[in-house]
């Protein structure tokens, strides 16, 4: 409980093109917590991420990230944007993309063969190899990233977000484009890093089930505002049904875990993503 909260917001509101997406949002996320941001399509989850990164200003209220103004702590944040896929013709290796996450923001030009003479360059290469190994991407990290499958690209991008040992990880739908076994293994990996290295994780997700066992807190964004709380408080049938505007059931398994059933986006979000369906208005 010492030190500033990792993410803190008070009466925050945001507007894009003069339209208020959400307002009156209060957040208080302690260092080391694993937090999920949930909510229907188009409600402003990615917009919240942009606010935290400092690329979009609030229209009202205040927000602090790692104790600073948004954008002020960019060196200590690992970020994975939503659904990027690299152009198939991009002839840059996966390991080079991960490497950019380590020192891509430093001025200067990479010098080929430097790792043979400089200890710092050798350490950097070793760190990149270590983190690629950690996410299990060693087998394909030397191939051009444009030629890798969506899931393979995603693992490398998670490695890129991790490579600088950030204090805060902001992941926008990192499990997207992974199959079910990979969803649980990547979720477990991120949870392990969060616990072992004390990293705060803020993960936007559509399907809460793979991360449910690890969550300390849930932020639900619905039209207008947000509800935050522990999973047990927020993930209940009546609250979810109200937020999504669809009947949703939450069951408790024998070991006390929760399982969300009937979550609208989970199986079908690839098809309804671009249809721009109007969200039913909860709250």
């Amino acid at each position: 409980m010492t030190g500033p909260p990792a993410v803190w917001a008070e009466a925050a509101a945001v507007a894009v093109s003069r339209r208020t997406l959400w307002s009156g949002v209060d957040l208080d996320i302690a260092a080391g917590e694993f937090v999920a941001v949930l909510g229907p399509n188009g409600v402003g989850k990615s917009t919240l991420v942009k606010v935290l990164l400092g690329s979009l200003p609030l229209s009202a209220g205040r927000v602090r990230v790692l104790g600073r103004e948004p954008g002020g702590a960019s060196q200590e944040i690992g970020y994975l944007p939503q659904r990027r896929s690299f152009d198939p013709s991009l002839r840059v290796r996966g390991v080079d993309v991960v490497r950019l996450g380590l020192d891509g923001d430093r001025w200067g030009a990479p010098i080929p063969g430097l790792a043979r003479v400089s200890a710092a360059a050798r350490r950097a290469s070793a760190r990149v190899a270590e983190v690629i190994d950690l996410v299990g991407a060693s087998a394909y990290a030397d191939r051009p990233i444009g030629r890798l499958s969506g899931g393979e690209q995603q693992r490398l991008l998670i490695a890129q977000a991790l490579v600088r040992r950030p204090r805060l990880l902001i992941l926008d739908e990192p499990l997207d484009s992974l199959d079910l076994p990979n969803q649980s293994s990547v979720a477990a990996l991120i949870a392990r890093i969060s616990r072992e290295e004390g990293v705060t994780v803020l993960m936007v997700a559509h399907d809460v089930n793979p991360i449910l066992p690890y969550l300390d807190r849930v932020v639900y964004i619905a039209a207008g505002g947000a509800v935050a709380g522990t999973p047990a408080e927020v993930i209940t049938g009546p609250i979810l049904s109200r937020l999504y505007g669809t009947a949703i059931e939450v069951l408790a398994t024998s070991d006390g875990r929760l399982v969300v059933i009937g979550e609208p986006e989970a199986p079908a979000h690839h098809t309804d993503r671009h249809s721009g369906h109007p969200h039913a208005d909860p709250l």
Binding site: G71, P81, F86, R93, V97, D103, R106, P112
Partner: protein, 299 residues
Amino acid sequence: MALLAVAAPRLGWNPVSDIDQLLRYHFMLNALRAGTIVAVAAGAIGWFMILRRQSFVGHTLATVGFPGASGAVWLGLPATWGYFGFCLAAAMVVGLLPRRALGAASSGLSEESAVIGTVQAMALGAGFLFTSLYHGFLSGTTGLLFGSFLGVTDAQVWTLLAVGLAALAVLVVIGRPLLFASVDPDVARARGVPVGALSFLFVLLLGAAAAEVSQITGTLLIFALLVMPAAAAQQLTTRTGRSLALTVLIAVAATWLGLAAAYFSAYPVGFYITTFGFAAYLLAASTRLVGGRPRRAGR
């Protein structure tokens, strides 16, 4: 063409005497100097242009150089001034075109294409007007559009060198963040990389490169040095450093071979540089098809 008035150089089987013939005349020395400077700058900047998918912008900037050069000649000024003045001014304008306000820097480029296409057509039209206004210059139009290596002055070599070195120096300073911003703009921005400023700066570099290359290959053949070497190198390796070095090497080789071939024959230099660039690309592509794949899969 006018070249034949100088001498009648003949290619023989003795490389020493061939090179001796090649370097005998000052105009040819200047052509080789200018070509080398231009090839190095164009190779490196072209490599980033391909990565950023800005070939269309590059071509348009070169096209704007055409009315610049022909206008300068019409007014009795050195063509070099026209090239650099117009290309760099056009680069400023393109660099300041409004982009999509939020995110999606890579897709913001498609928005430019309508404006840029319009400018390109207008530039070609205006250039043709200037060449017509300057009576008797019409034969020079071919040189401006398709390249010529005659009459490179000492002053022009120095200008090319100064601009080329300045552009390369900037590229060395911004290289890594520019690579980051080109491959992965969203994450780069989140890391504090000034993506917008870099993109503006790169368009300026592209304007300088387009102006430089136009003076060797002509306005319409700039891709011989801006695209072909980078495309060939990317076939051969996916390692960024090696790929860049190889690009510069191929660009310089194509330029030297092209200038020499043009010197010993009656056909224009633009054709030869393009041909050597194309040959490098074909060779690289077939090397990759034949032997590249299994080797890379190994590790």
